[in-house]
């Protein structure tokens, strides 16, 4: 932490601030043009017909060499020692049990390097809290435990999370085992049906983490850690949530010009987006929405929108509704 006189001096010293920023920019440029970044980029660029598994295999192979992690951390530490106002020029990736830096970004994968401290893990385990969940992310991840910290991981599985996922058929999560992780071990976790929990650790963990973009499930799903039953789910892709918010806004604005675009979104791959858009379409122009509602009730690939659309049609076609429309 930087306090007091040093901050005051730095804030009033514009040339020094510019020097810090220039040093950060130079570090970012050197990293992005350096051998490690180039090797990663070429490896992922060269994957033909990329699938989640192919990308995970490539990430695993790249993680076999971890010497670049030491070099990167040494480089950052040297800069921060020389200038306490030097901030690592990477996006930060922080949860309550992990502090990391996003060191490589590609359309197929993002790679972060970071630390989970034993103190963070202990605080998480011992803090008072209500019901807890085991989460399934919906996408593949590759984890390299550069320093495993003597961590004991438990492993969990659920039925595959697919585009046809329903709460009714979510089943229960099952604990499939536990084991201590070794330094240098690489784990591939398919978040479409697998997860893990860090049960305990004796010391800090240094973790490389590749998050794989292709073939992800539409949902991130939670199961209760005690009952093992389904708790809830959320969209994995923020674009889905943005579409929902924007179509609601368009309906509230009575934006008839948006109708064709909204009709196109009725073919969105996510079932919850399709139904949300259908509701907004009904609110905007029920007459225009009706043929699409009939189509959804008859042939939507997911049972939930089919059922909801059928319920609305039944309401429309009830005698009272017909009298009201007349």
């Amino acid at each position: 932490m930087i306090v007091g006189k040093d901050v005051k001096t730095w804030i009033s010293d514009r040339p020094r601030q510019r020097a810090t920023l220039a040093d950060m920019a130079a570090f970012a440029r050197d990293w992005e043009q350096g051998a490690v970044h180039r090797r990663f980029r070429e490896a992922f660029d060269s994957i033909e017909a990329p699938t989640a598994e192919k990308v995970a295999d490539t990430a695993s192979a790249l993680f076999a060499d971890e010497s670049w992690v030491d070099a990167l951390i040494d480089g950052l530490a040297a800069r921060m020692r020389a200038d306490p106002f030097f901030d690592p020029p990477f996006r930060q990736h922080r949860t309550d049990i992990y502090d990391g830096l996003l060191v490589f970004e590609h359309e197929l994968v993002s790679i972060a390097a970071g630390v989970s401290t034993a103190a963070q893990l202990a605080a998480k385990k011992t803090a008072p809290r209500g019901p807890t969940s085991v989460g399934f992310t919906g996408h593949l991840g590759v984890f390299k435990y550069v320093k495993a910290g003597g961590a004991l991981l438990s492993f969990w599985e659920v039925p595959p999370i697919t585009a046809g996922f329903t709460a009714a058929d979510a089943g229960q999560c099952v604990r499939t085992g536990e084991r201590e992780i070794a330094d240098g071990e690489i784990l591939v976790i398919d978040g479409r049906h697998q997860s893990f929990v860090i049960e305990r650790a004796r010391s800090n963990l240094v973790i490389l983490q590749a998050t794989i973009a292709p073939d992800r499930a539409p949902l991130c799903v939670e199961y209760d850690s005690a009952s093992r039953g389904f708790v809830g789910c959320s969209a994995t892709h923020d674009t889905s949530s943005r579409i929902q918010m924007i179509t609601t806004l368009l309906r509230k604005l009575d934006c008839d010009a948006a109708l064709p675009a909204m009709v196109d979104l009725l073919d969105h791959p996510d079932f919850f987006v399709r139904w949300h858009v259908m509701k907004e379409l009904l609110g905007l122009d029920a007459g225009a929405a009706l043929p699409h509602l009939r189509r959804m009730a008859a042939s939507d690939p997911h049972p939930d929108p089919r059922r909801a659309a059928r319920a609305v049609l039944d309401r429309f076609e009830a005698p009272a509704a017909k009298r009201q429309a007349a």
Binding site: V109, R129, T137, Q209, L219, V231, G283, A308
Partner: protein, 46 residues
């Protein structure tokens, strides 16, 4: 049908309710999602 004024709030919800991206109902035990979710948010909003 053209005369209908549909109240969106009265239309049925799906049996499988899906929350907005990045949200959770309960605190996580500690592990996969805790390590994953912020990064997931980063890459998918990039």
């Amino acid at each position: 049908m053209d005369n209908f004024r549909i109240m969106v709030e009265e239309l049925p919800e799906l049996e499988t309710e899906v929350a907005v991206s990045g949200s959770v109902r309960q605190q996580e035990v500690g592990g996969g999602v805790c390590l994953f979710i912020a990064l997931g948010g980063l890459i998918f909003s990039a």
